[in-house]
């Protein structure tokens, strides 16, 4: 009798253990193997990230300067041959598209997974070259005058209240240095807004392919000025796809050269 009970207990324990094991393995299986509906977006994301990575590698292999906009890390980096030259923290990022009388004019062309090419500053930096005409040396020629001391970059290149980097195919970046400037007066802001509004109206009505897609980037005023003064000609831009590990070149951090708190220059 006791043997029978013991046998029954053993069987019951084995059945319970088996059921528990089966349940655990089923749960584990359920976690490890996602359904096709879960795999599909993952596949699409990976495809997109890989294509952007491929473009980054192509740019790094070239001789052109390029900007890398990482919306996830909130920064824009000027690069050349894979080297980070200058990193600017992005305080705000918006996408602007033209509209006329509240009717939006969408540009059907893709702009996120492509390289934006041949970016140029608008208004361009004016290079005021000093021309020195040297007289041929003679016995009677006086000692030539020493050239004047050149201005500082701040004096040479005044930064406009709004500037663009215009790329091919109607894509552009817009930077408004006054936007994040706490020291800018209300009147200056109002004037900048008014001027920008009128320019935008004209661009939306008449600019058919000049400003089809516009990325508005908010940088702190010092960074905005630095980008305007330093941006090389014919720069490219690539926008990183989100949901990726940190970009090579280290973890995102403000550039040691120019952080908002520093007051060098």
């Amino acid at each position: 009798m006791t043997n029978h009970r013991a046998f029954m207990r053993t069987c019951l324990a084995m059945i319970v253990a088996g059921a528990a094991g089966l349940a655990v393995t089923t749960c584990a299986k359920g976690q490890a193997t996602p359904s096709p509906s879960e795999i599909r977006p993952q596949v699409a994301r990976l495809q997109r990230i890989n294509s952007v990575l491929q473009r980054q590698i192509e740019l790094a292999g070239g001789k052109q300067f390029y900007l890398v906009l990482d919306s996830g890390a909130s920064d824009i980096t000027l690069m050349l041959s894979g080297a980070e030259l200058q990193r600017y923290p992005v305080l705000g990022l918006q996408v602007g598209q033209p509209r006329v009388s509240w009717v939006r004019r969408r540009d059907p062309r893709p702009w996120q997974d492509v390289v934006w090419s041949h970016g140029e500053l608008d208004p361009p930096r004016q290079i005021d070259r000093l021309v020195i005409e040297a007289a041929p040396p003679g016995k009677d020629t006086a000692e030539p005058e020493a050239p004047p001391v050149p201005s500082t970059p701040e004096e040479l290149y005044p930064v406009p209240s709004r500037y663009h980097v215009r790329f091919d195919e109607g894509r552009s970046i817009e930077v408004r240095p006054l936007e994040a400037d706490a020291q800018a007066g209300r009147l200056a802001r109002l004037r900048a807004w008014w001027s920008a509004k009128w320019h935008d109206v004209v661009a939306a009505v008449f600019g058919t392919d000049r400003d089809a897609v516009r990325l508005r980037i908010v940088l702190n005023p010092k960074d905005a000025a630095s980008l305007y003064r330093s941006l090389p000609p014919a720069v490219h831009l690539v926008i990183l796809a989100q949901g990726r590990p940190p970009a090579p070149g280290g973890t995102p951090r403000p550039s040691p050269a120019r952080t908002p708190t520093e007051g060098k220059d």
Binding site: P36, I39, R40, V43, A44, R45, L46, Q47, L53, Q56, I57, A60, K63, F65, S71, L80, S81, G82, A83, E84, L85, Q86, L93, Q94, V95, G96, P98, R99, V100, S101, W102, R104, Q112, D113, R129, V131, I132, E133, A134, A135, P137, E143, P144, V149, P150, P153, D200, V201, A203, A204, V205, R229, S230, P232, A241, G243, P248, P256, A257, D265
Partner: protein
């Protein structure tokens, strides 16, 4: 008896009558003008319908103007869609995901290899700043002097022209010299108004390039300067001038082949 009518003069003008001397006409006061204009405006009868039509038109134009320009929306990373042949079954999706994951790791590794490792130099020629970097760390930020952008024109002789710009792009340290001696090029003599020497030995000048020079091709160098007070301003002829202490740090860290990025 009626007076005889006066005969017209040959010019047709009547002879001037005696009267007071004409003087300057007193301008009416501004306030008077305004009140007169307002009175006239009040007297004008506006068509009520026209006023309403103009007001409504202005309102519509205003609304249209307000809705014209650029509409900004927060940046959202675009939706990812599978490109190419869309696999349907679970059996096709899984291998594709695995392949893409392998490809992702491969591309990430390739991208890492493009970044410079070890010590490299970055020069911002507009801001006149030199950064000495090691991997992701900045070892030194120094003021420097890049090319002035000036143009020198030779009025006599060969009528040559030089533009004193620093180059942009990626370079490497090709040679390193301690106590460099400068072999002055033609433009240096022309700029100083001196005759160009025939003997090459007369071109040599020591001390003007500082203690060290790092040559990176096409006549361009990173070197010291006698004019440290001008650091931070673009005054050079294309080379990059650095202060003495900063140059020592650059010299201590740089090697032949060290990459230099100038923008």
């Amino acid at each position: 008896m009626d007076p005889l009518p006066s005969l017209p003069t040959s010019t047709g003008a009547t002879p001037p009558t005696a009267g007071p001397e004409p003087g300057p006409v007193a301008a009416p006061p501004v306030a008077g003008l305004i009140t007169r204009a307002l009175r006239r405006l009040v007297q004008v009868r506006f068509d009520r319908r026209a006023v309403v039509a103009v007001a409504i038109s202005a309102l519509f134009v205003g609304i249209a103007w307000a809705g014209t320009g650029y509409r900004y929306q927060p940046f959202i990373d675009g939706p990812a869609t599978i490109s190419g042949k869309v696999p349907t079954g679970d059996g096709e999706l899984k291998p594709l995901a695995a392949r893409l994951d392998r490809r992702f790791r491969e591309l990430t590794a390739r991208l890492k290899t493009t970044a410079p490792r070890g010590v490299y130099i970055v020069i911002d020629q507009t801001q006149n700043r030199l950064y000495l970097k090691r991997d992701d760390d900045t070892l030194l930020e120094a003021r420097c002097s890049a090319g002035s952008g000036m143009v020198l024109k030779e009025t006599g002789g060969k009528k040559r022209e030089w533009v004193f710009d620093s180059p942009r792009g990626r370079f490497e340290v090709l040679a390193m010299w301690r106590n460099p001696v400068w072999a002055k090029p033609d433009w240096a003599f022309i700029e100083e108004g001196q005759p160009i020497p025939i003997n090459p030995a007369d071109r040599l000048e020591s001390g003007s390039l500082g203690e060290y020079a790092l040559y990176f091709g096409n006549g361009f160098m990173i070197h010291g300067t006698l004019y440290e007070r001008l650091l931070g301003r673009a005054v050079s002829h294309g080379c990059v001038r650095v202060g003495r202490d900063d140059l020592r740090k650059v010299w201590a860290n740089a090697r032949l082949g060290t990459r230099i990025y100038i923008y």
